[in-house]
């Protein structure tokens, strides 16, 4: 196995459940040591895809390779190199924390001798030391979630798949989990799905957005923002007539236009939203022009920084549009070329 082999290679993956298509022709690959964020609305096919990656569910068609091993034909080898934390993180209710980790380690074919120190290390890492002798069924959600994460990375597998690891955690615990995942960067390949978008933005090298069982966007968070939202947006609080303002801004940049305006507040100021078709920064030019013009009284000007949330909404909305139009010829999908990147 050469180093150029991707850790995860999925091509044309399809999964049907009794006539319902959960995953429809997904292709992507993840390089070794990369952290991939998996986004999508509920029912988009995230969990199904992850289950197929682990070999738990068989795919209807398409192929999945983990570190060069096919999931369909070489399931036993694949199960040795993945750590998986399922959705809702099921745990046995009546075991103690350290007992559970020991049992799981034995199932993952770890030696008795290496298991003890490894469990100690993980309990420390996941801040579970205080509860190591407690019964899992009596622990709070945050602890249970961290037990699931500890279990997934227990055997130090090269590929880790976690389905919503940060769900139900408080901000402090999310921070711990984020550090934990960041520590894996470069050593292990990680796929995380999450609904907490800032989380994904901060931890992941690359994001994959799926909707209706299809990949609708993929790439680095920053690149996705540029591409999907493309426009620079500004918010201006100013006392002005919209016609005057439109004249001034189009002199700075022809594509700059007013997208919305509010009614004047008590002092006569309004908030205008402006947008330009490309990404270069006009803040300074705008500031200069508006501040020096006698017709206007400028109070504030800011540039909108789009979040991953905006990207997510834009990408999924676009895919809904595609679905609605029912003219979805996948072969001509412009996104397709990016997927195989």
């Amino acid at each position: 196995m050469s180093d150029s082999t991707p850790a995860i290679a999925v091509s044309h993956l399809v999964k049907n459940y009794a006539g319902v298509t959960a995953v429809s022709n997904i292709s992507f690959s993840v390089a070794k040591g990369e952290i991939l964020g998996f986004l999508g609305p509920n029912g988009a096919g995230k969990s199904t895809t992850m289950r197929i990656l682990t070999g738990f569910l068989p795919a209807t068609s398409g192929s999945v390779e983990i570190c060069g091993h096919s999931v369909a034909t070489d399931t036993a080898a694949v199960k040795r190199i993945i750590g998986y934390m399922p959705e809702n993180n099921p745990l046995p209710e009546d075991m103690r924390v350290s007992e559970y980790l020991y049992y799981r380690g034995r199932l993952k074919e770890m030696g008795r001798r290496q298991l003890g120190p490894r469990i100690d290390e993980l309990l420390e890492l996941c801040d579970l030391k205080r509860v190591r002798h407690r019964i899992i069924g009596k622990l709070s959600k945050g602890f249970r979630q961290r037990i699931g994460i500890a279990e997934a990375i227990l055997a130090e597998p090269p590929v880790i798949i976690m389905d919503e690891p940060t769900i139900g955690l408080d901000p402090h615990q999310i921070l711990i989990v984020r550090d934990l995942i960041a520590r894996l960067r470069g050593r292990m390949t990680v796929i995380i799905s999450s609904h907490i978008l800032p989380e994904i933005e901060m931890t992941c090298d690359r994001v994959l957005i799926i909707n209706q069982g299809r990949v609708v966007a993929s790439g680095e968070p920053a690149a996705l923002k540029r591409e999907l939202l493309g426009r620079a947006r500004y918010a201006v609080e100013i006392m002005a007539e919209s016609a005057d303002l439109a004249g001034v801004i189009s002199a700075i940049e022809p594509s700059l236009e007013i997208t919305s305006e509010t009614t004047p507040d008590a002092e006569g100021f309004r908030t205008f939203e402006l947008s330009a078709e490309h990404d270069s920064d006009f803040s300074e030019a705008l500031m200069g022009a508006l501040a020096t013009d006698d017709r206007f009284r400028l109070r504030a000007l800011s540039r909108d920084n789009p979040t991953l949330e905006d990207v997510f909404l834009a990408a999924t909305k676009r895919s809904w549009d595609v679905v609605d139009r029912a003219a979805n010829d996948r072969k001509n999908d412009p996104l397709k070329s990016k997927i195989s990147k």
Partner: protein, 253 residues
């Protein structure tokens, strides 16, 4: 097979730390004690031909039909309902190892519950010193029968558990299957029509699988290899069906 021992060890451990095991054991022994006391009071009023062990093991089906499904109904249903089956099967463990591990633990518990009834005979021996009342032949034959037939009964319970995520459904299914296997064959062989010429092969097959007939032979000290083969092969078949039952649910989940 290395995971078999890991899972077996884990299951046995969980049984040992669970209070419900001890409650079940106490209830079982109390019930068997009542039966035993009933048999003894019968013996004290009227003279009997056979030893009490024979009469005791003739009632084996009462605890088997109700206890075995209770012991096994949880094993696979619970894992599936909680979702821990998913984490279990994404480790390098095969479905066969999971089924065998759970089966092994349930069978060991079944054996140890029956071993507890040995205490009843010990008490009887201690206080009567009567060799007729404690005839070693039927006693050992009876326990051997329990151990051999238990292989199949526990496997049937595991099979029922592999079919449903609902413990109650698995339990009821187990009771029905065991009833059919133990009482059903007995009732069927008593039906007059079975004696017709046409049904001769059916009758022969039925004689072969009749559990009460096996018990009678074992109690008399006859250990027939055909009967051993029947239990071992039926157990293997049932366990294979359990594995298939588990896998088919995954494929169509």
């Amino acid at each position: 097979m290395r995971h078999f021992f890991t899972i077996l060890g884990h299951e046995v451990r969980m049984l040992l730390v669970s209070p419900s095991t001890y409650i079940a054991a106490v209830a079982f022994l109390a019930f068997m004690g009542f039966i035993f006391a009933g048999i003894l009071s019968e013996y004290s009023t009227t003279p009997q031909e056979s030893s009490p062990a024979v009469a005791f093991f003739e009632l084996f089906w009462v605890p088997v039909i109700f206890m075995v499904p209770l012991l096994t109904m949880k094993s696979i249903s619970e894992e599936r309902r909680l979702g821990t089956l998913e984490t279990l099967l994404t480790t390098p463990v095969s479905t066969g190892e999971v089924v065998l591990g759970k089966y092994g633990a349930a069978y060991l518990l079944y054996l140890s519950l029956w071993a507890g009834t040995g205490g009843l005979f010990f008490i009887l021996h201690r206080f009567t010193q009567d060799s007729f009342l404690l005839d070693l032949g039927p006693l050992l034959g009876g326990y051997l029968f329990i151990a051999v037939s238990g292989l199949l009964f526990v496997a049937v319970g595991i099979f029922a558990s592999s079919l449903s995520r609902n413990q109650a459904v698995a339990g009821i299914l187990g009771v029905v299957l065991l009833f059919g296997l133990i009482i059903g064959t007995q009732l069927l062989s008593g039906v007059a029509t079975i004696n017709l010429e046409v049904f001769a092969p059916v009758k022969a097959g039925l004689e072969y699988t009749r559990v009460f007939q096996h018990l009678e032979d074992f109690s008399r000290g006859i250990v027939d290899t055909r009967q051993l083969l029947f239990y071992v092969s039926a157990t293997c078949l049932t366990l294979v069906c359990s594995v298939l039952g588990l896998e088919v649910k995954l494929i169509h989940s």
